[in-house]
């Protein structure tokens, strides 16, 4: 196998960890919004931490291997779709990090409420369904999908 094939293969595996991990975070977080008891919400949000680690590792490796691939193939970072993909990577990571803070706050709140009687709470519901946090998380995921689209279509070569 050539170096390009190795780099491309592991670049895609990293991209899978990035996007599939984000899918896992989204599924677990959505499941949490459908629970009433704070202990159940806390458990489900706690599980997202494992998936977040996969997203972090995948996003970083995808960037490093993608940059290595660009250099190895003698492409220019100024090529439109490559620079757009790099910008979208930053957008995705930044939005995901800010959105993740809201989820962490909701988990801390759920853990506290669980230890104080485990009764449903409006404050927790508001925290879980915050429009701002959802917009940030969806924005992060859409940016990741846009990167995938750029990788597939490679507009402008």
């Amino acid at each position: 196998m050539t170096t390009t094939q190795w780099l491309l293969g592991f670049h895609l595996v990293a991209a899978f960890l990035f996007v599939s991990g984000a899918v896992a975070v989204g599924v677990l977080a959505t499941a949490a919004t459908r629970r009433e008891r704070p202990s159940e919400v806390a458990s489900l949000l706690g599980l997202t931490r494992v998936a977040v680690v996969l997203v972090a590792v995948g996003s970083l490796l995808a960037l490093v291997l993608g940059v290595a691939l660009v250099r190895h193939q003698g492409r220019s970072f100024g090529t439109g779709w490559i620079s757009a993909a790099l910008a979208l990577w930053v957008v995705s990571v930044v939005l995901g990090s800010i959105g993740g803070r809201s989820a962490r706050h909701a988990r801390y709140l759920a853990e506290r409420l669980a230890s104080e009687g485990d009764l449903p709470s409006d404050e927790l519901r508001r925290s879980l369904t915050s429009a701002r946090a959802q917009a940030l998380n969806y924005g992060s995921f859409v940016a990741a999908l846009a990167i995938l689209a750029l990788m597939v279509w490679q507009p402008g070569g």
């Binding site: 895609l12 996007v19 599939s20 899918v23 599924v27 489900l44 706690g46 998936a51 996969l54 597939v152």
Partner: protein, 124 residues
């Protein structure tokens, strides 16, 4: 053709993401979310395999890499996912299965990643 490739990769990424949920939820003995995720993973894997076959026909693709990735996708991810549906359904009354199910789901996730590697690197 690019649209087909995009949807194929997106479906595969979603399927692997749901398999990750199976492993993570099974680790916490949350059998209902684990089982629902396993069902979703199997359905979406079927979609991904169907899109892949359409893509292969369009491109007239052939080679060992394609046969290997087909084999891994069908016998590893699809059948593995179907087995996970069954075992996560049975696990509520068999708490000792937790470790084995987490290990099995992790293996199926790894097979999914191996398919991604073979499909993109095309070693042959």
């Amino acid at each position: 053709m690019n649209a087909l490739l995009f949807l194929h990769v997106l479906a595969a990424m979603t399927a692997v993401g749901l398999l990750m949920v199976v492993a993570i939820a099974a680790g916490a003995r949350m059998w209902r979310p684990a089982r629902l995720a396993a069902i979703g993973a199997v359905v979406i894997t079927i979609v991904a395999v169907g899109l892949g076959e359409g893509l292969a026909a369009d491109e007239d693709a052939a080679g060992t890499w394609l046969d290997v990735s087909r084999g891994l996708a069908v016998f590893g991810v699809l059948l593995g996912g179907a087995a996970l549906i069954v075992v996560t359904g049975l696990a509520q009354s068999r708490p000792r299965w937790r470790g084995s199910i987490v290990a099995a789901a992790s293996v199926v996730v790894s097979i999914g990643l191996a398919v991604a590697f073979v499909m993109s690197a095309k070693p042959s």
